[in-house]
Point group: C2
Chain length 136, copies 2
DNA sequence: ATCGGTGCAAACTCTTTGCAGATTG
DNA sequence: CAATCTGCAAAGAGTTTGCACCGAT
């Protein structure tokens, strides 16, 4: 019973997220999309993001001290574990879930886990190298 | 060179956080503090929280889909790992850092880690039991 | 007495909502 | 053609800022 319509605005948002190699904020999506659809309203983006979240097509993250980012859900992104570089904002996926064992232990003790997020931030190898070169 | 003054507002905020067994939001702190200082302004709380963060006396967390909470820093809270019950908001500390090994591995590969947060949410044993009893 | 802190009001940012008209199926 | 979606404008939350006065040191 999906009465959802496939508007060019929604398609555009999806394709922007699909082509991005890192999670994007609403403002980043907006800046990108106005290039093609100059009259688009931010509220349209908010509404479409909400519906994409409900449809489980994208994930929502809180990074960098409370900025909200969205990322397309793909097979390789299914697990929500990644590391973000504070500098270049590039995202590095974690191959496995490092707290899987911990979760099992907690569930054995009666805690019902609904979700977990792990956020590691810092400076990636390349950015660290670059900064170092500047100073030497 | 701390020109910081020790006002009753700041003392009050600290003592409220010290006596709380869970992280508190600005609004929770405000509701508590107006009982004693009815004329206090929210901006005063924001400003004091900022200065307490700078002084490293409290920690800031993003929980429950982007609500911001603050918690007093104590020896037993030094490591930022805990689990929060969505229902009663009680906080359960994790005894150890479950991603310590992962971090070491990442740092060996050149990533400079600045900080990490792990957020696990769900329903604690007691709340789960309570809900179950209602339905049976 | 000095200078940082406070309360108040206004401003700002981010997000949501109401509505008339446009667009999709 | 009907129902959903859009753009616009206005309204709401949460937070920050400017300023005159207050109060710690």
């Amino acid at each position: 019973m999906s009465n959802e319509r496939n508007t060019k605005q929604k398609q555009m948002i999806l394709s922007i997220l699909r082509e991005s190699d890192r999670p994007m904020s609403i403002n980043e999506i907006y800046s990108k999309i106005v290039e093609c659809l100059p009259k688009i309203a931010k509220s349209t983006i908010y509404r479409n993001i909400d519906s994409l979240l409900l449809q489980n097509l994208i994930d929502k993250y809180h990074l960098n001290d409370n900025e909200i980012f969205y990322r397309i859900k793909t097979n390789c992104h299914e697990h929500k574990h990644f590391v973000i570089c504070d500098d270049c904002k590039k995202v590095f996926d974690l191959p496995t879930c490092p707290i899987h064992d911990l979760e099992s232990a907690m569930e054995e003790e009666g805690f019902i886990i609904k979700e977990h997020q792990i956020q590691i931030s810092g400076i990636c190898k390349d950015c660290a190298k670059f900064k170092h070169n500047i100073n030497t």
